[in-house]
């Protein structure tokens, strides 16, 4: 038996987790979180597996997954960027920030770059309003992103060294 969790069958990992918690049906959201952690996303097959395991209709699972924006049914990039669209950030120009990030990554919000490096989403207020406008990457907050250079700099930290930067832009205000 191999005890390395990274090498274990992902479905087995998920089942082990489900077996370990009490009140399984009631903890559907917790289970979906764990499943997304294991698989990176929640494809139909994984949702169906959870439905069988919990004896819930798969339509119900699909309904929950499609309701919460945190859950994704598409594979995600290595790094997940979230532009905050909460009120404070919105007032400080998060729409422009979102457009600029989209252009630098070459994708729209909700999509993943071709090299699977970045996925881009939006969130509603992460409570860092003092730093507005903000973007998080893998949960880390990048604040006061007011120029194209600020954004380029923030994203560069997540690119492997030596990768050419995709978007050329001057240090102009966005």
């Amino acid at each position: 038996m191999c005890n390395n969790p990274l090498l274990k069958d992902p479905y087995q990992q998920l089942d082990d987790y489900i077996d370990s918690i009490p009140y399984k049906k009631e903890n559907l959201i917790l289970i979906l979180h764990r499943a997304q952690e294991i698989f990176g996303y929640l494809p139909d097959k994984v949702q169906w597996h959870i439905a069988q395991k919990l004896d819930l209709p798969s339509a119900k699972i699909y309904g929950v997954v499609s309701f919460y924006s945190f859950f994704t049914m598409k594979p995600r990039g290595k790094h997940v960027a979230n532009v905050c669209m909460g009120t404070a950030c919105f007032v400080r120009g998060s729409e422009k920030l979102q457009k600029e990030v989209e252009s630098q990554l070459g994708i729209k919000t909700g999509q993943t770059t071709e090299d699977q490096l970045f996925s881009l989403d939006s969130v509603r207020c992460i409570g860092a309003c003092g730093l507005a406008p903000v973007m998080t990457v893998d949960g880390k907050v990048h604040g006061r992103l007011e120029t194209t250079a600020d954004i380029k700099q923030a994203l560069a930290k997540y690119r492997p060294e030596g990768t050419p930067e995709e978007a050329k832009g001057s240090n102009s205000n966005i």
Binding site: D44, Q47, P57, A59, K60, Y62, S66
Partner: protein, 580 residues
Amino acid sequence: MDIQLKINDIPLTVPAGMSILDAARTINIDIPTLCYLNLHEMRLNNHIASCRVCVVEVEGRRNLAPACSTPVFDGMVVKTDTQRAVLGRRTMVELLLSDHPKSCLTCPKNLDCDLQALAADLGVRNITYEGEESEFAIDKSSLAIIRDPNKCIRCRRCETMCNDVQTVGVYSAVGRGFETVVKTAFDLPLHDTSCTFCGQCVAVCPTGALMELDQVDKVWKALNDPTRYVVVETAPAVRVALGEGFGLEPGTIVTGKMVAALRRLGFDRVFDTEFGADVTIMEEATELIHRIEHGGRLPILTSCCPAWVKFFEHQFPDLLDIPSTCKSPHQMLGVLSKSYYAETYGIDPQKITVVSIMPCIAKKYEAARPELGQDPVTPDVDIVITTRELSRMLREAGIHFDHLKEEDFDHPLGESTGAAVVFGTTGGVIEAALRTAYEWLTGKPLENVEFEPLRGMDGIKEAVIPIGKRDFRIAVTHGLGNARTILEKIQSGESHYDAIEIMACPGGCIGGGGQPYHHGNLEILEARANAIYQEDRSKPLRKSHENPAVLKLYRDYIGEPYGEKAHRLLHTSFTKRPKI
């Protein structure tokens, strides 16, 4: 505990916890509703307050309150008819209509639509709101139900019915905000899900978002093809509901008029599914006795209901060996039309088209099951239309239904007994089987043929019926949620029965998904059930094994019930299916 409140200045005392809507109804004040649906007998209560059509003013409350889901409190002052409330309701309907196709004239639900009726009642004369409109693909994958999500108003009655009452769980609200719509798992075509096609979602859908697959034109085509010999058969539950489509009181028995109307439409022979029901009893009662005498697995479960059959194939694949292998009565009548009748009267079975008029949507799917036919490829039943579709066909043909003189079914597949009539309501199949099994097992005549404990609208009915030296433990359930309860008890070994009747639709076939819409009034179902029992009492013969035409069929053609030829023509098999 009771509390006191005032509605439109009228003081009243009602139990605490009651909704404003129910309280108002106790004093005959009607508040319009749309998403709300409370079918107490079916244990369906949809009061999610999503449509906001039932809004009223409550003194001291800033905004309007949805009457369906706001509980009353002591000293509450409610106004249901103020200008603010009335305009509020109209606004809600306008908002709903702003994202609803304006194609009422060509909608199959035209003149039977709750949303349309509401717009008329509330005086909606224009739609002030313009904006984005949903664009969803129409799901025509199944052979029974058509889903047009563009007409969905997100009331979620279908979801409540499918999840809470039927426990099938095919539907769920998916997405959020404007994009929310009721969908299947992973947006699969309905055909690929565990849907049983019971049609109860169609029965409660207030709009045309869920409809039966319309096959009227196929019937017209067959009737107008001179090379086809078109046979029609009608289920017991149709004759006690068809009149509703022509303004007759629920529970009016229209058997004779229905037969006359079908002849006017041009059918070559008008047969009765009840003949098939009598044959079903010959087979099923023999199968039960065979299982008892040969140590077969009990309980035997009835298999007349195609939605129930599909339910156990998906949900209880380990119990596939306990349902009776009998085909359903209309399939039996179909195959007998194309074999026994065709051979007796020298008609080429390839030229016969069998049309079934059914209270049921799942029968459309059933008729298309590949195992329910004979080689070379000819299905037992070619086309199935519902009671609603027949009623429309008769209007299309300009037939004045209530002026027709009563006529009789054609011989020989039109002969039937009272036992076959009661198939149409919950408890009827097992009652019919007991009438025959009793006499066969004891060799004595059964004096009282009415088994009261098996009748009525209780979800699960149980009775112990002594027959000879043996006590028969019988259960009757209707509604698939109740069926699930019983089956789980069998699986766990908690309950033991000898025979169980299961019907997918609450009330049995009289409450079928293809019947005239009840619009939430379940008294209609009771009236239909009473009519069924009345029709049974009016029959000179009330036991299937006394049907002379059925006895002749066995003597001249089939041989022994449950014998070799019977197996080939009248029995079927079931398939394991995944739960999706």
